[in-house]
């Protein structure tokens, strides 16, 4: 792991009018590190994710990001052009519902190739080869490259969404319940794939999930949120094996044992 963080978040607070989304969030994320944000619905974890990924403007606080040129920039002070460029090159966002992250009416190949074309690739053959390579890496059969994701199963769609995000070699990927809404067996496959890709590519990731097993398997560190506040944070196995806060103890003890 590198010695310099990729992201420095300080006092990040988001209010919707007078209603609290999340408050006073502080953390640093290092290259190759996976941070899980857990908590129940309404705990503010999705608000935090959307604010971190610059989809929402914070009420106060800042998030400094180390750009590819090594300069530190507050992501909320980037121009819209810079921010959008960042989000489709150096960042990824994996939505819970693949339809939110894919173009459902264009082929799988074009879904993967879009980011390449957006950054100026103009060679059809090379774009297609790259798309094929990525479909292989996410275990989508090569002969599905010209099919629309509408004809894909939920698990395939999610894997396609991941390929679409990773094709530009992002350094930071946000994931919102990436395995939510999938069958258990499909979840396992996806988790394994994610774990493998994150490891191979040295990605940093921020994963929102309410599933502690997902957090255990994917993340190095986790933050537990409740009522908009981070109530407990630390090494993932420390938080799960030795939960301190009443709410965390409740969460951990609520896992069904199989």
């Amino acid at each position: 792991m590198s010695d310099e963080p990729l992201l420095r978040v300080s006092n990040l607070t988001k209010y919707y009018g007078s209603r609290l989304g999340c408050a006073d969030v502080n953390f640093e994320l290092y290259p190759g590190e996976v941070l899980a944000i857990v908590g129940e619905s309404g705990s503010g974890k999705t608000t935090l994710l959307n604010t971190l990924s610059a989809n929402l403007e914070p009420t106060s606080g800042e998030a400094l990001y180390r750009m590819r040129d090594e300069s530190w920039r507050n992501i909320y002070e980037l121009s819209e052009a810079e921010r959008r460029f960042l989000t489709r090159t150096d960042w990824g966002f994996v939505h819970q519902n693949p339809a939110d992250g894919l173009r459902m009416t264009v082929s799988a190949g074009a879904n993967v190739g879009e980011r390449l074309m957006a950054v100026g690739d103009r060679h059809y053959g090379k774009i297609r080869d790259t798309a094929l390579d990525w479909l292989g890496r996410v275990e989508v059969a090569a002969d599905r490259i010209d099919d629309q994701p509408r004809s894909f199963s939920g698990g395939m769609r999610q894997r396609l969404q991941i390929a679409r995000n990773l094709v530009t070699g992002p350094r930071l990927v946000f994931m919102d319940e990436p395995t939510g809404g999938l069958d258990v067996s499909v979840q396992a496959r996806l988790l394994d794939l994610l774990r493998q890709l994150v490891g191979e590519l040295g990605l940093s990731a921020i994963v929102v999930t309410h599933d502690l097993a997902v957090a255990r398997l994917l993340s190095h560190r986790m933050m537990v949120m409740k009522g908009g506040h981070v109530i407990e944070a630390g090494l993932t196995d420390r938080v799960l094996d030795d939960p301190r806060e009443p709410y965390t103890q409740l969460l951990v003890s609520s896992i069904l044992q199989v």
Partner: protein, 291 residues
């Protein structure tokens, strides 16, 4: 103004024309950029060229000579009606000859004869937004134009190649104007795209239903989008015009009977007539002349 005392010159009131002229000036200043304007109800349905008509009405003067074409022809309903409309409300001289016209309003074609400095080509545009096909949100497409995010345009071309082995888009083929804005050239065949490039004439585009005006000033670069390994090409016709023998022109297929008989003739009727008057004859033209 005796015969039509109830109409203001060129139908629209002066305030409206001023508003549209401002939009046109802005469009000329920012080639390829879609300028919103307050489109008026015209005495014809949307889809009949209300955008083009409003642009023409705002730029036309008593000394102008107007030509109107629809799919290249001067004698189709749409062309005849619009020509008659301006003859009535602006009492301007009309023509079918490209060379004589100062303003040419068009639907779906650019005349074969090279346009000259001083001429204005007014396009009727149904859907001005080239990105709409893949991104239906207008708020988003405006942002994409503002930030020059045009990757999506290539997604469309990619899909063409993936599906058909080549770029199968044959009309409304997207172009980049002066290296900046991506523009829908209206549903003209891609055959006409090269004519837009550095044209000496001013090209104005009016979309009435969509409330947009855009422009390509004379001598502006207009480049059709493509891939390095799938470069832009125009349609190619195997045979010359059956009536006038012209090559390197855009041809329409005309069905002659119910036994599969057909011929290919110039879509630009004025061009075809002028050539025949000058003595050029095609395969079927000879027969016609002989009858």
């Amino acid at each position: 103004m005796n015969a039509v005392a109830n109409y203001n010159f060129a139908y629209l009131d002066e305030q409206t024309k001023r508003m549209i002229r401002r939009a046109i000036l802005k469009a000329v200043a920012i080639p390829g950029y879609q300028v919103p304007f307050s489109s008026r109800e015209m005495p014809m349905p949307y889809g009949w060229g209300t955008g083009g008509v409003q642009v023409t009405a705002s730029i036309i003067g008593p000394d102008d000579v107007l030509k109107v074409i629809d799919q290249g022809a001067d004698d189709t309903t749409n062309a005849v009606s619009i020509r008659a409309f301006f003859a009535k409300v602006a009492q301007v001289q009309t023509t079918t000859h490209t060379a004589e016209a100062s303003i040419i309003q068009t639907r779906h074609r650019i005349p074969e004869r090279k346009l000259e400095a001083g001429q204005i080509l007014v396009y009727q545009v149904p859907i001005p937004e080239p990105l709409r096909f893949l991104e239906p949100r207008e708020t988003e497409t405006r942002k994409m134009h503002a930030l020059e995010e045009y990757g999506l345009m290539h997604v469309k071309l990619y899909e063409d190649i993936a599906r058909h082995g080549r770029i199968a888009t044959t009309y409304a083929y997207p172009v980049k104007v002066e290296g900046r804005y991506v523009m829908d050239p209206s549903p003209t065949p891609k055959f006409d795209n090269p004519k837009m490039h550095r044209s000496e004439a001013l090209q104005l585009f009016g979309a009435g239903r969509e409330h947009r005006i855009y422009a390509v000033p004379p001598h502006t670069d207009v480049v059709s989008l493509d891939f390095e390994d799938h470069p832009f090409t125009i349609q190619h016709f195997e045979q010359p015009c059956a009536l006038c023998g012209a090559e390197q022109v855009y041809l329409d297929e005309v069905i002659l009977d119910d036994r599969g008989g057909h011929m290919y003739v110039c879509s630009d009727t004025d061009h075809c007539e002028e050539r025949r008057e000058a003595g050029h004859v095609g395969v079927l033209g000879m027969k016609e002349a002989a009858e």
